[in-house]
């Protein structure tokens, strides 16, 4: 047990948490934007997968930043496809989302097998690039706390810093700009913004596109930093966990960040625990994030229910 505590309160563990939380945070923010505009994006999982594979294949031939942009772009395109079928052709959003997930899980394996000439498991034969880590070694010069600062803040993926900025950018957009108000209004009660002349369909379309782009970016971090390369079904349910994290984070960007960090902690635990407790079956450790999501979902739903009951009571 002391071993576990020592590990958990170390700087390396913190770095692992940030690493595992970053893709989840991007995906959660993507889920949040779609959810706030009133369109549940169940395709986060598939968009992450496609973003990851695209980034890996593009990074073989181009600099890393082009690969990052390609991953975002392909996620956004999938978001646009979703918007087209949902908004123009009136298909149910959950079905469209699942169609995209099916397309992604099969399509990525198909494309992987073509790109690697027959390998359906991993992209190990492709030399793909990584997103650079940000070196803050100069902080070590600060007397006293310098070395600690370096240990905790240095060495994170560039995208982790982008994710942090994104949380505040999205918060600012949603709560401090007119367009953000449009988006929230469309999700809350579409009839009102419609009457006010706000193009409801367009707002939802752009939300889904942004949501797809963020999910693509989540895939990029997964395949260009957490693990350099692509493996079949490497998202392993993170896109669905992100849907739970949106709810757990009380549908707010800062809440989304805390929720993603919480899942990051459990994800990181499942990374370090096999080394510490080799008597626990690996399957049970892998199960932890999913069990936590279910419990968090139940807890969150209970709290919302109670809050609603309290407001109705005081309203009477």
């Amino acid at each position: 047990m002391t071993h576990l505590l020592l590990t958990v309160f170390s700087a390396t563990f913190f770095v692992t948490v940030i690493r595992t939380a970053t893709p989840l945070l991007f995906a959660t923010l993507g889920g949040l934007i779609a959810d706030l505009s009133g369109a549940l994006n169940v395709a986060l999982e598939g968009m992450m997968l496609v973003g990851a594979l695209t980034a890996v294949i593009v990074s073989v031939y181009t600099p890393w930043y082009v690969a990052v942009l390609a991953g975002i772009g392909v996620g956004a395109v999938l978001g646009a496809v979703m918007a087209f079928f949902h908004l123009k052709l009136k298909a149910d959003i959950v079905l469209v989302g699942f169609a995209i997930n099916i397309l992604a899980s099969g399509g990525t394996v198909y494309a992987l097998s073509l790109a690697t000439h027959g390998d359906k498991g991993t992209s190990i034969s492709l030399v793909s690039k990584a997103v650079p880590a940000v070196d803050l070694g100069f902080l070590g010069a600060i007397p006293g706390i310098g070395p600690t600062l370096t240990a905790f803040l240095s060495g994170h993926s560039l995208l982790s810093w982008v994710a942090l900025i994104m949380v505040f950018a999205i918060w600012f957009f949603l709560y401090r700009t007119p367009r953000g108000l449009w988006l929230r209004a469309v999700g809350e009660y579409p009839a009102a913004p419609e009457a006010a002349g706000i193009p409801v369909g367009k707002v939802r379309m752009w939300s889904l596109i942004a949501s797809g782009g963020l999910a693509g970016l989540a895939g990029v971090q997964l395949a260009m930093f957490n693990f350099v390369g692509f493996t079949r079904d490497m998202t392993a349910g993170r896109g669905f966990i992100a849907l739970g994290a949106v709810l757990l984070g009380a549908r707010h960007p800062v809440g989304a960040m805390w929720a993603a960090l919480l899942f990051g902690v459990f994800d990181a635990l499942s990374v370090v625990m096999p080394n510490l407790f080799n008597w626990i079956p690996p399957e049970l450790i892998q199960m932890i994030p999913f069990v936590v999501t279910v419990l968090a979902l139940l807890l969150f739903s209970y709290r919302t229910l109670r809050a609603r009951q309290v407001t109705t009571l005081s309203g009477d």
Binding site: F85, A91, I241, E283, M287, F290, S301
Partner: protein, 365 residues
């Protein structure tokens, strides 16, 4: 569109729509195969023809269709109640696990192995289907998220139990010893995969149809799905209907688990035995418009494509994952209301066609 259209006209419309979606999807698949295969025509011919090549491949097809029917039924029940509970995978895995435990226990050597195995599987599936339903009814917990998480939990749980507890120890095997012969569904046609499961699937179809269209429970369920507000005014306890729909759907999925492990294909417990089939039920249920009696036909059609793709994967250089593209396009097109634009295009085309025909007539003689 005056008066109620006859059910046959409606069915014909749905069939035209499904076939249209299939043709578009196959055309896209053909283009992809053209670009990626060295022998595209041969690959495409294998996709379309191979399931009928031998008695063995026909057996694969019928067996796969029976299983697709079950997952389609399970999903159509929850879809009819407008619940997007997608926990079929977890229910299948747990159902299979429980039926496998029965078959491996001393009971497995008696005649009770099959009926008890089926009952255990259905009970486990029902219990696992009940959880997201109850959580939604009591707490309003989103059933999509909870049921998907339960899938992953069931997958990890069954993998651990089979690998660590049920498989012969010390060899690192991912499957158990074969069940006693009496615990395995008897084959209906010798040396094929066609077994008792096909009969169970037919019974399940009829039972689901009866429950949905000939009982008051089914009427209430469909009302809750079609018009929740009306159902509420009519005094229907929507929560009870929702939870019971998810539970019954879980029982059907659990039975599918028993069909997997106690069927001719396995006859033992193996990790991840359902191999992604559970989610294929989404396509089956959507194309069948959640009608139980239409589901076996859709399952036969789609099972044919799946087996064609598998054989194409083995016999040619095209990976079977190309079927995912077909599947996604069919779901997208069938779920969309694309019938209206098509009619509009036809209207737009018709005068031109007429004019062209008239012009040809004028030039002709």
């Amino acid at each position: 569109m005056s008066g109620a259209p006859s059910p046959w006209a409606e069915a014909r419309g749905e069939i035209v729509r499904a076939v249209g979606a299939l043709v578009v999807a196959l055309a896209v698949a053909f283009v992809i195969i053209m670009f990626t295969s060295k022998a595209p025509l041969e690959a495409f011919a294998t996709l379309l023809r191979s399931p009928l090549t031998s008695q063995r491949t026909i057996g694969y097809w019928i067996d796969d269709s029976a299983k697709l029917t079950m997952t389609g039924l399970a999903l159509s029940l929850v879809f009819q109640a407008r619940q997007f509970s997608l926990g079929v995978q977890g229910q299948v895995l747990l159902g299979g696990l429980c039926s496998g435990v029965v078959a491996l226990s001393p009971v497995g050597y008696t005649w009770a192995a099959i009926p008890l195995g089926i009952l255990a599987a259905m009970a486990a599936g029902a219990a696992y289907g009940f959880i997201p339903g109850y959580a939604k009814a009591k707490l309003g917990a989103n059933e999509i998220v909870s049921s998907l998480m339960l899938n992953y939990i069931a997958l990890d749980l069954t993998t651990w139990l089979i690998r660590d507890k049920l498989a012969p120890p010390g060899k690192g095997l991912l499957f158990t010893n074969p069940f006693p012969k009496i615990a395995v569904f008897p084959a209906l046609v010798a040396h094929t995969r066609i077994d008792l499961g096909v009969i169970l699937a037919v019974i399940a179809v009829i039972a689901t149809w009866f429950a949905l269209y000939r009982t008051s429970w089914g009427l209430k369920l469909r009302l809750v799905g079609h018009n929740p507000r009306f159902a509420e005014y009519a005094g229907i306890r929507a929560n009870f209907i929702m939870v019971s729909a998810m539970t019954v759907s879980g029982a059907i999925a659990g039975l599918l688990g028993a069909m997997f492990v106690q069927g001719q294909v396995y006859g033992k417990l193996a990790t991840n035995f359902e191999n992604g089939l559970a989610f294929e039920g989404i396509l089956v249920a959507i194309v069948a418009r959640n009608r139980p009696l239409a589901i076996p036909f859709v399952a036969l059609g789609y099972g044919y494509l799946r087996q064609g793709a598998n054989l194409m994967n083995i016999r040619t250089d095209v990976p079977n994952e190309v079927i995912a593209v077909v599947q996604a396009i069919i779901i997208l097109l069938v779920a969309s209301t694309f019938a209206l634009p098509v009619r509009k295009w036809l209207m737009r085309l018709r005068p031109e066609a007429r004019r062209a025909a008239e012009a040809a007539e004028r030039v002709g003689p």
